[in-house]
Amino acid sequence: MTTPPATGGDLAELGRRCAGSRGGDRAAFEQLHTRLTPGIRGFFTRRSAGGRASELADELTQRVMIALFEAMAEGRYDPERSAVSTFTYAIASNIWLRHLREARARGGVVSDNDLDRAEEDARSLGLMGGPSDHAASAELLEAVRRCLRERGGPGNLTEDEHTIVLAAAAGASDRALAERLGLAASTINAKKQSGWEKLRRALSRMGFRGEVPERGEGERE
């Protein structure tokens, strides 16, 4: 049996109400919409610029919230598998990729860099197949969040491994971290590799292997 995700109380409760009512609890969904919109909008704002960046972020955020509502109405969101924020993030990632592909197909100027990164993210989440993968992708992301969030939890990373793995994900090079932290670059690299290996093993124990979230033979926590 999976451990339900631990999130901010209100948000988790709203997610459960919306899921339980299959979207019928309009008040709950409106609150969820209000709470999630700023963060989702920030997701798109960080990825777009130009004269229409703000307008584009608004438009794509609305698409995400519509898709979220539809998913809840159709029973595709399970609060036991992922937090509502994680599930919404999976939707947003997919919508961003679709937007870039559509823009390029229409003849818009989309940098190869942007498209490559969006496709790589989708591959990491196993989203290449389409919307039905949101729940599975969200579950994978939730597992990663648990590993990083819970001290002594499934990941069991040390404080240093935790810090270095997060800094590396934010773009820090080993050398830059080494200079900043007064450690040898080799030490930074060793701790990073160690952190990743712990994550890899923890995810594998939870049934996540490879880029596509598929179930292995082992036990699920």
Binding site: R46, V144, G182
Partner: protein, 266 residues
């Protein structure tokens, strides 16, 4: 699962934490994060430029009178609707730690500033909030190679694009925002393209991460078609419209500056 995939997943997990923080910031029941023993956080304020300043570039462009030689300068691109700033979108802005427990990062990070001896995991008091940690993270984001260039689009009297040329690094290290009015068209006109009869030069300067700039003649042509095509669809090709079209066509993360020069028009 390879290292790159893990790295991507960790980054995405950190982004989700940002979304949850934004969601909790909107909840009155959630306590504000603050350092133990300090006063409450200062409220954030957002400055907005006065309306006149935000609209002035368009007002200036509209005041240009058609003459034998017409020079128009459009506003800088990257301007969000209704705003006056010219942000450059940062792919990695906002990324940060899954900083639910700031003390985990702080114990490692605070050690560096104190000059104390090595000792990973030494028990130091918390000295950095989650926001400060994210700011710390941002300084490690890999710097991207910056570059600039000018796209020159020549239209004939019928609006048909006759020639497109791309001039990488046309102004060297000079930021395009520092160009004087008219400098853009002066540096670009007549370079590589020669048009007979009434025509117009649309000079679009772009600067930013090199990987987002046109990397070939084909990419330059695509950008030109997007700018002119978009403006034509709007049935209006005055400098402000072209400028907005320019800004919407370029990839994210680029500054845009545009000037036009009409030759041989009454």
């Amino acid at each position: 699962m390879d290292d790159r995939t893990l790295n991507n997943l960790v980054r995405m997990a950190a982004e989700i934490e940002e979304i949850e923080r934004a969601a909790q910031a909107g909840s009155s029941s959630s306590p504000r994060l603050r350092l133990a023993g300090t006063s409450a956080e200062r409220p954030r304020t957002t400055k907005r430029l006065p309306l006149a300043v935000r609209l002035s570039p368009f007002a200036a462009a509209a005041a240009c009178v058609a003459a034998a030689v017409m020079i128009g300068r459009g506003p800088s691109g990257g301007t969000p609707s209704g705003g006056g700033a010219t942000p450059v979108a940062d792919h990695s802005s906002g990324r940060g730690a899954t900083g639910q427990d700031a003390s985990r990062e702080n114990k490692l990070l605070a050690r560096n500033g104190a000059g104390e001896g090595p000792g990973i995991g030494s028990a130091r008091p918390v000295t950095m909030t989650a926001e400060q940690f994210r700011a710390f993270m941002r300084q490690f984001e890999a710097p991207r190679e910056l570059s600039s260039g000018v796209l020159a689009i020549y239209q004939d009297a019928a609006g048909v694009v006759r020639c497109v040329s791309w001039h990488p690094q046309a102004f060297g290290a000079t930021p395009i925002e520092k160009l004087e009015p008219g400098e853009l068209v002066k540096a670009t006109y007549g370079q590589q393209c020669s048009i007979v009869g009434p025509h117009r030069l649309i000079a679009v300067a772009v600067s930013g991460p090199k990987e987002n700039l046109p990397s070939s003649a084909e990419r330059a042509q695509e950008l030109a078609q997007c700018i002119v095509g978009d403006a034509m669809i709007k049935c209006d090709a005055d400098p402000p419209t072209l400028s907005v079209a320019s800004a919407s066509c370029v990839p994210h993360g680029l500054h845009v500056m545009m000037e036009t020069l009409a030759m041989g028009r009454p």
